[in-house]
Symmetry: C2
Subunit: 695 residues, 2 copies
């Protein structure tokens, strides 16, 4: 766990009294914020503060926060930017519980002076322990408390039901704009909406941690523009996983993936967006593709009976539409189990030969008949029907039959609305039953898949245990030569070829005598700096006799005469054929140590046949990583008549690498095995070449 | 062009008089159909027909269609299934112009007797030339004529504006259900909606052709469950491309891709769904992923000023939202060009340092100010702003400023609505300006990308010209042996290795004398049936002398002793190194001849490094095919220090294959070159091995 400072956010986010500093009745942020507090009937005390007013919206207006004469829980500051720091100081002095700075005009407008002011704000917060939201944000809402401390216009009264999810957004305009609209339209219950602003003091991770600690919260949606502390975020993602709480994120800035200096495969193929994606997959975080998914998935995942299996019953009034729904789900790995004969016969007593009494159900006119509850209850009895996915629409009396059926079934119901979006009455009734709804069959299938995948992923993960042994690393730093790098691997339990260091020609006969009869060898130069040894002719393959060894040695010795980067020679036994992979670890500034596994050869980069994980990880994550490298599972299990390769040894080698890095703390900045040869089943793996850098 | 029978659909689809046979006032299909005709104020004559009624909905009801005493244009039949054939006969006898059979209970209910009745219907239509829609369909609508001949409930009066698009659906419940709802909600103008039913007579291609011939129609959306005549569909797709009309399709049944017997790579990797996808891409048909795309894209593509470039100006009231919009577009290849300094300075006179005066525009409060028209008109002056993509929302007076700006700009405007879906008044005003709208930024970006990609694809295609030379093919049929297959290639102009057929050992010295000094050769068995010659030891590589040749010959001759499938031997010059591809043609039952090009080796199937096209195709389609094979473009142009391969020769070889198949009509059922080796730049290609089957 990190050692970040945690503020108490109780009084800030659940205040009983609020001062609005800079209060007025205009259509300014201040006026809007006051209107929203009043309009939503905030049940605590509201104290407008403004030295130039005596009354605001019929309430007494105080000349200063000090003049209130009470320790208010939350002070909302909406004064000019240059007055903010002094106002914060005054607020702290008179004992406020937390501060929200809506005022803009800091870092985002003036990178020098704005940042200085933010540093002052941070210093005040740290000295006092009083938490500050913003500056430059829209505010936040606590729906349970009817507290809407946000400077937006046109907020209706009580726009959202209470629920078990929270939205945290680094874009205030998105959070209190489209995200709030979607939650309203879908009647999705929330507890908090928080816009984080410039994050001078509290950042997105602080709010996330607060939400994870809140027993009311089961799902948190986050709009992320940039993470200041990715390692802390990952720690919280692990915590969410332990607590069974669902995280949904959307990340902006995806099209600007930065190019990095390509010191190795591992570095060039594990850019930031790739790592962010790997992180979400690894921790079972749902990655939303648009605002609708971000909000609706939080609504779906917060439900206590949310679908966790992949077996569903599809229901429609139309064969075409139920077929389309079944297809969209089937494409994404859902099962639409066949019903028992008994079920089919019973349902057919209603259908009388029309439509289909099997799953997916095509109920024709029976969809909106009083028989629907009995039909769905009959279908539900079939083993493994984990949910109903209904694609239909309707209105009036006949639609009540659908609502009745939904009320009676036990499993969750997901509804694809196939009628007009403007059927607000019927849609409203469905939403009042807490039925997740989409206007697109495909979108519903995508969302169900993302939700179930996240549940599956989190259920399958074991927490990584303590590493058994400390890594044995040399003391020196910087790039190592190949034999030293291989020594690290060998110490960690990753097999390397048997090898002999050679200093002088005279040693050759003695060394060759140790090579087993019939084994071919390879002679290579040793160098810390020359990574592509083959390119300069520094590798001699298939040496089968002392004479060949001597000839090869002489050629390499001649090479050393001209190249003082060559420090010596190493003779290695050649390895039998196998499947060549590349396995690399590098230390990312943001994500810490990351591991890449991929299919080797010149096509690795071209075809991106790789998988990436953030370390540490457990053995079954390594298994899933192997399954994720395109084609690797098939190749390992025996492709086109091959007997198959030693998958188990590969897993153990990756575990060893992962443990090595974990136990070596931050010292390993780069470790790339290329190729890592996987031999035939039962024969293990062998690291044929290796590059390492220590710090 | 095909030689299918074309009915005249004028009286059917644009009737002036309609008989409804089986008319009643109930909530049956008949009652609903009559209500929809009357409710939409069909301007022609309506004749209810039912022998048991004298009056229906206040109109005189006729005992039979004959009793009407007039040649009605359209007869809608909604009688019991067993009466349909006789009713059709009577309709034909009294001179109706076209027939719509809504009645169900044919093939779909009873595969034997239902199909027989459909055959009778087809025979009647063919004899008389009277076109029949259905049976088992919902009907159709001609929006221009206010004619809604469809048996659905709850259809409001004049649900859609007139427009320049049509919807043809093989699922009536989808076509007159969700598709119609989406068109209504988005106020998308249409001319026709047609549900095709069982297609006993008219099929989806007939309606498509009719729409293509209709000068009012610029876009056609089709929901396809199954194509009976794919070649005709492709012919019509070519026609649409020539006419500049846009096709949008959605195909159901995608998750059940049939597995075929894998006689070759080409067969196993070009299954039906893959071919369908290849076809849409090749002909610039837009493939919709959901009902929204299917309908909204028809609405977008039918507009005369539809976006055809990739340079757009993004506009929002919020930086977060405009950034998200820019990203979603940027990810899909759109450009958001930087504005001139003059533009930025001018816009900044309104923004006064807040927001961003550059593209993507973050207009903060100015978004809904009276200055918006001037801001957008200034932005529009920048070179290459082909459209505005606005992400915003609003209401009341301030929203009028947005509407005013949209009215004044010249380029098309696309709107991502970031507010509540229930803001029907504002949304309605936008739609009345014919502004395409989505509730998801991502969806809008996806749709714009699909539309522009389709335009680009169609603009880049040249029609394939006449093939120069007829293919020289042997007369025999079935599988050919390798030398015969290579002879076909050589005749077509695809280079093959120099080779010598060998019958007897005595020929060896004479043949070896013809091999150039220093050339290595390969000796192979010849067989029509043994395709994997290496597997049985039937290939001897790297033969460098007469002695080696004689030794190799003796070994293969011994093999022939045991295997009577071996008919002889062939000596070939070995080819220098290059990039090994696989190029194959097979004749698909549905799509006709198809060509697959892919990267060779064992990974071809595993990683699907292929591209597929339907033949014939032009040279620049072949270029785009090469660019589409994952990684191939990079490999050809010189990857990792390689000098690059002979791309031009590869294109010529594929052109030759394409021409060969085109000129050979249907005779080539399989032709697979594996490997097709592409040599270094300027050195050509060489077909190292080949399998062929003729018919």
């Amino acid at each position: 766990m990190g050692n970040w400072k945690t503020y108490s956010l109780e009084r800030l986010l659940c205040p009983r009294s609020i001062a609005v500093i800079g209060a007025n009745e205009k259509t300014s942020y201040a006026g809007k914020t006051l209107r929203n507090l009043i309009g939503n009937e905030f049940p605590g005390s509201i104290y407008p503060v403004n030295p130039t007013h005596s009354e605001v919206f019929g309430m007494k207006c105080y000349p200063s926060v000090t003049a209130i004469g009470e320790k208010v829980d939350l002070a909302i500051i909406i004064v000019k930017a240059h007055l903010v720091v002094d106002t914060i100081r005054e607020c702290i002095d008179c004992g406020v519980g937390g501060i929200l700075v809506i005022t803009a005009g800091f870092r985002e407008l003036d990178p020098v002076h704005g940042a200085e002011r933010e540093a002052e704000i941070r210093a005040l917060a740290e000295q006092s322990g009083v938490p500050v939201v913003g500056p430059n944000c829209i505010g936040f809402a606590n729906i349970y408390n009817d507290m809407w401390a946000c400077g937006i216009s046109e907020l209706p009264k009580h726009p959202l039901p209470k629920g078990n999810a929270a939205i945290i957004s680094q874009s205030g305009a998105a959070g209190f704009g489209p995200l709030l609209s979607i939650a309203r339209d879908r009647k999705i219950g929330l507890k908090y909406i928080i816009s984080t602003g410039n994050e001078s003091v509290l950042n997105i991770c602080d709010y996330l941690e607060y939400c994870l600690d809140d027993p009311d919260i089961r799902a948190v949606s986050m709009l992320i523009e940039g993470l200041k502390d990715t390692e802390r975020f990952m720690e919280l993602a692990r915590k969410a996983r332990r607590l069974g709480k669902t995280l949904v994120v959307i990340k902006s800035g995806e099209s600007e993936v930065g190019q990095r200096a390509a010191k190795s495969h591992t570095a060039s193929m594990t850019g930031n967006m790739a790592l962010f994606n790997a992180m979400t997959k690894q921790f079972g975080i749902i990655k939303a593709d648009d605002y609708e998914e971000l909000v609706v998935l939080a609504g779906m995942a917060q439900q206590e009976n949310a679908l966790k299996t992949r077996r569903v019953c599809v229901v429609s009034h139309s064969g075409g539409v139920s077929g389309c729904t079944g297809n969209q789900l089937g494409k994404r790995g859902f099962e639409v189990p066949v019903f028992s004969q008994e079920t089919r016969e019973h349902i057919d007593t209603y259908l009388k030969g029309f439509g289909s009494p099997n799953n997916p159900l095509d109920l024709t006119g029976q969809m909106r008949s009083p028989n629907l509850p009995d039909i769905l209850l009959t279908a539900e009895k079939n083993e493994g029907v984990g949910a109903f996915v209904i694609s239909s629409h309707g209105s009036g009396e006949r639609f009540e039959n659908i609502l009745n059926a939904i009320r009676q079934v036990r499993v969750p119901v997901y509804f694809c609305w196939t009628g007009s979006m403007n059927s607000t009455e019927s849609i409203g009734k469905l939403l009042d039953l807490n039925v997740p709804l989409s206007f697109s069959i495909q979108k519903m299938a995508v969302m169900l898949d993302k939700m179930v995948t996240s549940f599956e992923s989190r259920a399958s993960v074991e927490e990584t245990g303590a590493v058994q042994t400390a890594a044995v690393l040399p003391d020196r730093c910087g790039m190592l030569n190949e034999p030293d790098a291989k020594q690290i691997l060998e110490n960690a339990g990753v097999a390397v070829p048997r090898r002999w260091m050679i200093d002088r020609r005279e040693e050759l006969p003695g060394i060759w005598g140790q090579v087993p009869e019939g084994k071919k060898c390879v002679l290579k130069i040793v160098s810390k700096t020359i990574i592509h040894k083959t390119d300069i002719g520094g590798v001699k393959l298939k040496i089968g006799s002392l004479e060949e060894l001597e000839k090869a040695y002489d050629e390499l010795a001649a090479l050393r005469e001209q190249n003082n980067e060559i420090s010596g020679f190493v003779l290695e036994e050649m390895c039998e054929d196998g499947l060549d992979l590349v396995a690399g670890i590098r230390r990312d500034e943001q994500f810490g140590p990351v591991l890449m596994l991929g299919i080797g050869g010149i096509y690795t980069e071209l075809f991106k046949l790789i998988s990436i994980r953030i370390l540490p990880m457990g053995r079954n994550e390594i298994e899933s990583m192997i399954d994720e490298v395109p084609g690797l599972k098939s190749l390992l299990s025996g492709y086109r008549g091959h007997c198959g390769y030693d998958r188990e040894a590969l897993v153990s080698a990756v575990v060893a690498l992962s443990d090595l890095v974990a136990s070596a703390k931050d010292r390993v900045t780069l470790l790339e095995i290329n190729p890592l040869r996987v031999l035939d089943k039962g024969k293990g793996v062998c690291a044929l070449d290796c590059v390492a850098e220590l710090k």
